[in-house]
């Protein structure tokens, strides 16, 4: 019972990471495709400003997924990381380069430096979700079982490949939708249309990929296919479809806050549908939730820790997003890092170390 609860918590953490982290990776995707230095300057400017206050928080969700995995379902953690060694190793390298590229691009001012850091950030933003998606695909298609050694087949197969591409398309879609809103917030009207077109385009690609994935899973991962076409899984698939339609409708009108909600709804419903389709397995047909569950006492405590943390963290997160969307959070400019008026008491020579 507790194990099921923790499994749901883990699925929700995956949802949170897919949405928050996905938006973040998507911003990187559009950074990559923004074109040359001149042409891409304004989209990149917006991406930088929109991402800066929240990107760190967005990416911490992944840590939860890992922690819940190894504390709540140690066998699952061991299985996935043993079998999916290479894609996960590549994904983590991508994360390193991505975070570093973004962090260093901001304060550096030479064009060559900014180009280099920016390119690293953008390329890594596309590569990382692909490998994460490929790893998930390998799990969903039942190619992994406890004791499976790392092999190329575990992640270089049709389902993995498609999941990887779906992951990229999803991030691009989320990124574009959120940047549309950010463009409005940052009062850059030309960029609203720019990102709206891209949001619609990437949703079209995502839909196409989703259909292809449907055909492939039918052959390649029958258990998930069955789950997606029956019961709760089907319900969430339908919900994801409805949310996409709503997103298209909202995007074609004047985009507001609601389009973000529906876009997140698309991704969340899709991820939950996958989770529901896997029931009762964590790794289809070889490892059930009950088998993988850790010690009962630990699971109970994990639930308690999660609850307490939610009470502590949720208000802070809400505050952050609220402050952010109300324009209360702004970066320090150079002029604020400079002495005001030079008249601070007792200052002789004005130097800095």
């Amino acid at each position: 019972m507790t194990a099921d609860l923790i499994a749901v918590v883990m699925l929700l953490a995956v949802v949170a990471y897919a949405c928050a982290g996905g938006t973040d990776y998507g911003a990187g995707f559009w950074d990559l495709t923004a074109g040359g230095t001149e042409r891409g300057r304004r989209p990149r400017w917006l991406i930088d400003h929109a991402m800066a206050p929240v990107w760190e928080v967005n990416n911490v969700w992944l840590i939860f997924v890992l922690v819940i995995m190894w504390t709540g379902f140690p066998v699952l953690f061991q299985t996935v990381f043993s079998a999916m060694w290479l894609p996960l190793a590549l994904a983590v390298m991508g994360m390193v380069l991505r975070g570093a590229g973004f962090a260093f691009r901001k304060p550096s001012r030479r064009l060559a430096d900014r180009r280099l850091y920016g390119a690293v950030f953008a390329v890594a933003s596309v590569v990382t979700p692909f490998f994460l998606g490929a790893a998930v695909g390998g799990v969903a298609s039942g190619r992994v079982a406890p004791g499976t050694e790392a092999s190329a087949d575990a992640w270089a197969n049709p389902t993995s490949l498609l999941f990887g591409l779906v992951a990229i398309a999803t991030t691009a879609f989320l990124g574009a939708v959120f940047l549309t809103g950010d463009a409005r917030r940052f009062e850059a009207p030309d960029l609203i249309g720019y990102f709206r077109r891209r949001a619609l385009g990437s949703l079209a690609v995502l839909t196409a990929l989703a259909v292809i994935t449907g055909f492939v899973t039918h052959e390649d991962s029958p258990h998930v296919w069955h789950g997606l076409t029956h019961g709760l899984g089907l319900l969430f698939v339908v919900l994801a479809g409805a949310a996409s339609v709503a997103t298209v409708w909202l995007l074609r009108r004047k985009p507001g806050t609601w389009v973000r909600v529906t876009a997140v709804g698309v991704v969340a419903a899709a991820v939950i549908a996958w989770g529901m389709a896997q029931r009762p397995y964590l790794v289809p047909t070889s490892l059930t939730v009950a088998d993988a569950a850790g010690a009962q006492a630990t699971l109970t405590w994990l639930a308690i820790v999660t609850l307490v943390a939610l009470v502590l963290v949720l208000p802070a997160v809400v505050l952050l997003y609220w402050l952010d969307t109300h324009g209360e959070l702004e970066e320090l400019t150079d002029s604020e890092l400079r002495r005001q008026g030079g008249g601070t008491a007792g200052d002789g020579a004005a130097h800095d170390s």
């Binding site: 504390t71 140690p74 962090a103 820790v305 008491a345 002789g348 020579a349 004005a350």
Partner: protein, 493 residues
């Protein structure tokens, strides 16, 4: 020699690269940890001073420090994520068997870290628009979130040192997990406080070291005096406390992990009236070459009497204790840490005495030279402390319950060596860029300050870019929609 060869032959080939990779990434991450844990606290002290005394210089320092914090925190998140992946990529056996026993600490840490990330984001980006008081108050929970995060990590590490809170079934798997016992293990308290104080000291000396260099180069204005005094005072107060805590944790190791203590002090045979060696090398046959031998001291330090019996390495079979080389490494790391710690306490005492006697900061060049070195020295001490505790635990990953060799991944060693190579290159670039970025920020601020002092406008248009204020953009947009070149504020050098 034969014993180590034998052990090496038993160890899987991927053990060495896996350990090197973990060691390298963790050693790199550790450099950022003091800043992550204690820098917000120091910045808030400075911030408080600025608000309280209406000191614009203090506020400026706090603002600039928070700009540094932004870059450092991002790098810390990145290198920290790598570590959590490595638990799976390198040590799947550890997490697979013990994850549900000691993983809960990481759960606490993850949430605390999340809270910290949120609060830091608010603090960093709140300088401009939030009311000064609100802004400061929103920053106040930061040090507590940092303490909570440290709690989680130290709970996990001390569990690996003194595992408890479970029993083993016939297959050797942990059952009857008691989470409370698994968190509050015997080594937890000593390790936690030793760690927290170490972080405060290190961050304090690192930050003040920067301004000590400035002092030595003749920059002795209010800005530099303040930038030096606040972090240095915090570290100087904490240093003597650490002296006591360090002594106490050494004695806890003596009681709870006697074999590790034997390695740290290179004690070969269990005996009373054991001498203390400063440095020196433990040979395979149990003799010690080199080093300074102080008779009886080890027994006295461990139990306040020469008759204290100190357990030696040979009290357990060779495959359950660190090799002679590992013991020597742990011993050197321990000695270096203690020496640096003692030197830092001396420095703190000098500082305190001068304040008490003359009511002014020290004026001696040698004091500031030492203070400039103190930052680097304390980082070295932190690294050494970590080496002593990790190498001293060998060959165990979970003390007396699981060997490192049992936990390691089955990935081919070649793959791991390649990954190690890539990671080293990437990390060199990362930390190199980190330094370059910090130095550039410094140069920019210095130039701006000099311009201001020279009576210039100080608001050259290019100074606000590329991350200038938000306001100018919309204006530029309406005049040159879609075209970026026309934005006057966006002059890239």
């Amino acid at each position: 020699m034969p014993t180590s060869l034998h052990l090496l032959a038993d160890a899987p080939a991927q053990l060495l690269p896996a350990r090197e990779l973990m060691a390298f990434t963790l050693a790199s991450h550790i450099i950022l940890v003091p800043l992550g844990v204690a820098f917000p606290f120091i910045t808030l002290v400075m911030h408080y001073r600025g608000l309280r005394r209406k000191d614009a210089t203090a506020l400026l320092l706090a603002r600039r420090w928070s700009a540094v914090m932004a870059v450092q925190f991002a790098l810390g998140i990145v290198t920290g994520t790598v570590l959590s992946f490595e638990f799976g990529l390198l040590w799947p056996g550890l997490m697979g068997r013990w994850g549900d026993v000691f993983g809960i600490g990481f759960g606490v840490e993850a949430w605390a870290f999340f809270l910290e990330a949120v609060l830091i984001a608010i603090y960093l980006y709140g300088w401009r628009r939030l009311k000064p008081r609100t802004h400061f108050l929103l920053g106040l929970p930061l040090p507590f979130a940092a303490l909570l995060g440290a709690f989680g990590i130290l709970a996990a590490n001390s569990w690996m040192n003194t595992p408890q809170g479970f029993s083993l079934d016939s297959a050797g798997n942990p059952v009857d997990v008691n989470v409370w016992k698994a968190i509050f293990t015997p080594m937890f308290g000593p390790q936690y406080w030793h760690f927290v104080v170490a972080m405060i000291i290190t961050a304090g000396f690192m930050v003040s070291g920067v301004y000590a260099v400035g002092w030595l180069r003749g920059r002795r204005d209010h800005y530099h005096r303040l930038g030096f005094a606040v972090p240095f005072t915090i570290a100087a107060v904490a240093a003597p406390v650490q002296f006591v805590l360090g002594d106490s944790i050494a004695r806890s190791v003596f009681h709870k992990q006697p074999v590790k203590f034997a390695a740290m002090e290179i004690v070969w045979k269990t005996d009373t009236r054991v001498p203390e060696y400063l440095f020196g090398r433990l040979q395979e046959d149990g003799t010690v070459s080199g080093g300074i031998k102080i008779p009886l001291l080890d027994s006295v330090l461990a139990g306040f009497s020469p008759d204290t019996e100190v357990v030696g390495l040979t009290s357990v079979p060779a495959d359950q204790r660190p090799t002679a080389t590992q013991a020597t490494i742990a011993h050197w790391a321990f000695d270096i840490m203690v020496l640096i710690g003692s030197a830092l306490v001396l420095l703190a005492l000098v500082y305190g005495l001068i304040w008490l006697r003359h009511r002014r900061p020290p004026a001696s060049k040698w004091f500031y030279r030492s203070a400039a070195c103190a930052g680097v020295a304390s980082v070295v001490a932190v690294e050494c402390g970590w080496i002593a505790t990790e190498v001293g635990r060998q060959p165990w990953i979970v003390y007396q319950n699981m060997r490192v060799a049992e936990a390691v991944t089955s990935t081919r060693s070649t793959t791991l060596w390649i990954m190690l190579g890539v990671v080293i290159v990437v990390y060199m670039c990362l930390f190199g860029s980190f330094l370059v970025v910090l130095l550039k920020m410094r140069t920019r601020w210095r130039l701006a300050d000099e311009q201001q002092a020279a009576g210039g406008t100080g608001h050259a248009p290019e100074a606000d870019t590329p991350y200038g204020p938000r306001a100018p953009l919309p204006a530029a947009v309406s005049s040159a929609a879609g075209g970026a070149a026309a934005r006057p504020g966006d002059g890239r050098p």
